[in-house]
Symmetry: C2
Subunit: 140 residues, 2 copies
DNA sequence: TATTGTTATACTCTATAACTATA
DNA sequence: TATAGTTATAGAGTATAACAATA
């Protein structure tokens, strides 16, 4: 069976991304988190006081979609919101959120190692620079 | 603003994939096609007579989702279906489908060149092997 | 005027379950 | 029994438009 798609970097990029993220999502599911929720927790962890709009821009998630995402995490008592001015709120981790985000961080660290291990040694160091270049070139 | 995610190959893989596929989707939209529809056209083009189930396995799209996808292409007179046995049909391109899939093929070829150009020369040759390894390792 | 946050809505892709018909 | 195709349905992510409140 001919498969012209396998030789395309673009198609392989998509299939690799779907495969890798699928496995990561299954692991995050064990912590009761989706991929986007985990990203928010990690960014709030590194940037306490960050606002939803700032998160939206860093994660390239529309403000409109960030609202229910953050609301879910707040409902689960993982995030606290404190007003910074009349319209925006700074986000920070609750005690539970701190605990859970630490678990996310170590899970993700371990998973990133698995990714590196799966790439043949002679290509390994080239992956992140190549992906970063693509993200930059096509990422708006 | 701290961004721990940028240093993760996994996160960069996802962002690069979303960015690149977003641009490709915008270009395919000019031909009136979605990404998945284009993939089907290219595979039928290379494998006339292929069945939906075979397509499903190659593209890793569930049979249940392939049905309406193929039906749309058939409704638009891009694909023909001819029975191979009592339960499966071989797919082939109509005249219009042949014409359109040729346009898709040259669009995709040009786009893949754009992808390669966006990767710094010293990393370029490493991208496809690294992505293929990840696809293989995580792809079921 | 521009920004923040929100609600409502729709589209794409994906996933599962259940069904018919055929091998 | 296993496979091919179909239908219905749900979930996750994303997109736009419109709105109120605030800077």
């Amino acid at each position: 069976m001919e498969d012209p798609l396998r030789s395309y970097p673009g198609y392989s990029l998509r299939r690799a991304s779907v495969a890798v993220m699928g496995e990561l999502s299954r692991q995050l599911d064990l912590l009761g988190l989706r991929f986007t929720e985990s990203s928010v927790l990690l960014l709030v962890r590194s940037n306490p006081g960050i606002t939803q709009s700032q998160l939206s821009r860093m994660l390239d998630i529309k403000r409109a979609n960030m609202a229910p995402l953050v609301a879910r995490l707040e409902d689960r008592k993982l995030l606290d919101r404190t007003p910074v001015d009349g319209r925006s709120h700074g986000l920070s981790l609750s005690i539970q959120g701190t605990e859970l985000s630490a678990q996310v961080a170590s899970l993700v660290e371990a998973f990133e190692s698995k990714i590196s291990d799966a790439v043949p040694a002679e290509h390994r160091a080239h992956l992140l620079p190549a992906l970063s270049a693509l993200w930059r070139a096509f990422g708006g």
